[in-house]
């Protein structure tokens, strides 16, 4: 048991663990919709697109959270508007905004001398640098996202399963669409410090995809995804503590490992099961 408790002697480690738990849970629950609606590329793009906001905030000495939040929501709504007009294919629109704003973010950061350490933090996360204030913000915003998922559960379910029915029932589909995008932006921002821009999409997609292999019930899928997400976050952090690898990649590797396990071993749908069934 000592090896479990030892890292907890460091307050930064405790904060990191709590932040990872929150992020793992929030990302995974919202990620369920990302997986079901095929929005993985959008999530990835959004994560990269917050970088200019972070960079501007960083250069101006504003809170990074605020910069990222403004950029994330801006880009989410921008992509939403661009694709709803239907002039460009959605993946093309995302590709343009995503790479453009990512480049802008990096360009801004490279104006600072000795930028590489900070850039690395933004790209791959710095979970051990979570301050108490960051932790509160993570808890508040993550909790808000989870609350909204619960409050609009039946509306999001109809939207995801049958968008046509949503319109026939006169649900405010545009509002719900943008709400989901903004929730995604908030989640991305909340997760920035833990896993960073580059690996963000793994937290959204991998635990939910793992859960999808194991259940065909939405509430169960959300619950399992939250479990896999938070377990990966904690296990990854321990891994990084003992094996001395960067924490963000460690978390993502645990996620991926769990996914592969499910892919092989899931009852009925797993590869081993199918192989055994001939």
């Amino acid at each position: 048991m000592d090896w479990l408790l030892e890292p907890l002697a460091y307050p930064f480690m405790v904060r990191g663990l709590l932040a990872s738990l929150l992020v793992g849970t929030t990302c995974a629950v919202l990620g369920t919709y990302v997986v079901l609606k095929g929005m993985a590329f959008f999530g990835d793009a959004l994560a990269h697109a917050v970088l200019p906001g972070v960079a501007v905030a960083y250069l101006a000495g504003w809170p990074l959270f605020a910069g990222a939040l403004v950029a994330g929501i801006g880009v989410a709504l921008g992509i939403g508007a661009l694709t709803r007009r239907g002039r460009l294919r959605e993946d093309t629109a995302i590709g343009i905004l995503f790479s453009g704003s990512f480049a802008l973010g990096i360009a801004l950061l490279t104006t600072v001398e000795a930028y590489s350490v900070d850039l690395t933090h933004f790209l791959f996360g710095n979970v051990l640098g979570v301050s108490p204030a960051d932790l509160w913000l993570t808890a508040g915003l993550g909790g808000l996202v989870l609350l909204l998922v619960a409050v609009f559960y039946k509306e999001f379910l109809v939207m995801a399963f049958d968008p046509v029915l949503a319109r026939v029932l006169r649900l405010p589909t545009a509002f719900l669409h943008y709400l989901l995008l903004v929730m995604l932006a908030v989640t991305v921002v909340v997760s920035l410090q833990t896993v960073g821009v580059a690996l963000m999409v793994a937290m959204l997609v991998t635990p939910a995809a793992t859960a999808y292999l194991l259940t065909r019930r939405l509430p169960a899928m959300m619950g399992l995804a939250a479990f896999f997400g938070s377990f990966s976050a904690v296990a990854g952090l321990y891994l990084s503590y003992y094996v001395n690898v960067a924490s963000g990649p460690a978390v993502v590797l645990v996620c991926t490992f769990l996914f592969l396990l499910a892919l092989l071993l899931s009852p009925r749908r797993g590869l081993v099961w199918r192989w055994a069934a001939g």
């Binding site: 079901l36 039946k154 109809v158 995801a160 029915l165 026939v168």
Partner: protein
């Protein structure tokens, strides 16, 4: 008995970008009627349904569903889209799908009430799928899935049911089950518009047929609509039609219904 008018379409022109998919279509439907909408591919059948349910605003003309403009619309219309438009691997149960029909009347921040749950159970009993309520929808056969959507329409309290190609990819026994179900719903006064490529089914099982090809070619009982002149006008060179002493013989290229030859005895 006088039935009230459920649907009135006047001089409707509608479509997406470019040429109109429907032009100058006028017809009306009374309560409890069950109508087969037929016509060649691209005739505007799906477009018509999308206008009726308020998904597509008409370019011109007037549409009234249950006395309202479908764009302002009440929610007593139910629309069952073509099979390909639904993700059946989605993690929802049969009961979940039927419950979705209730979402429009539940209101924000509400969870399903006892009444909602009872409506779902009743709807599933009506379509004969009560035992499958907890299955994931993808585990059902194509015909059962269509019945799930009919149950959803019932739970929704729909008075008008629009079904786009419900028999595509459905085996004969399931087709029969769906038709029997629709016949029972007819007794309850449910008005149904159903598009199909199966002309003999339209002739055998429906009292009235709407024959579309961008324009409304004909509307009436099958024996009036399915006569050589009218069919030729709708299908043009896609179909060879001639009169035979026992009925109308038509030979098509089969890309619509999968069959090469359809014979309609009227």
């Amino acid at each position: 008995m006088m039935r009230c008018e459920v649907l009135r379409v006047e001089e409707l022109t509608a479509g997406y970008d470019g040429a109109a998919a429907l032009e100058g279509v006028t017809f009306s439907v009374s309560g409890g009627e069950q109508i087969a909408v037929v016509g060649p591919n691209g005739a505007g059948k799906s477009t018509l349904f999308k206008v009726l349910v308020g998904l597509l605003p008409p370019r011109s003309g007037r549409v009234e569903v249950l006395g309202c403009d479908p764009l302002q619309g009440r929610v007593e219309v139910s629309y069952v889209a073509q099979r390909g438009e639904v993700d059946f691997a989605f993690p929802v149960t049969v009961a979940d799908v039927v419950m979705m029909g209730r979402v429009g009347r539940m209101g924000w921040l509400r969870w399903p009430s006892r009444e909602d749950r009872r409506a779902v159970v009743q709807a599933l009993e009506q379509v004969g799928l009560a035992e499958l309520a907890d299955r994931q929808v993808g585990e059902l056969s194509g015909g059962q899935q269509q019945r799930v959507f009919i149950a959803r329409a019932l739970a929704q309290g729909a008075e008008l049911l629009l079904m786009d190609e419900p028999f595509a990819g459905v085996d004969a026994a399931s087709e029969q089950a769906i038709l029997e179900l629709l016949a029972r719903l007819k007794e309850g006064g449910m008005t149904v518009l159903l598009s199909t490529h199966d002309l003999s089914l339209a002739a055998d099982r429906f009292d009235r047929v709407l024959l579309l090809n961008r324009r409304l070619i004909a509307s009436g009982p099958p024996q009036e609509v399915f006569c050589p002149d009218v069919l030729r006008r709708a299908y043009g060179r896609q179909l060879a039609v001639w009169e035979h002493e026992r009925g109308v013989v038509m030979v098509g290229d089969g890309h619509c219904s999968g069959g090469v030859e359809q014979q309609i005895a009227v």
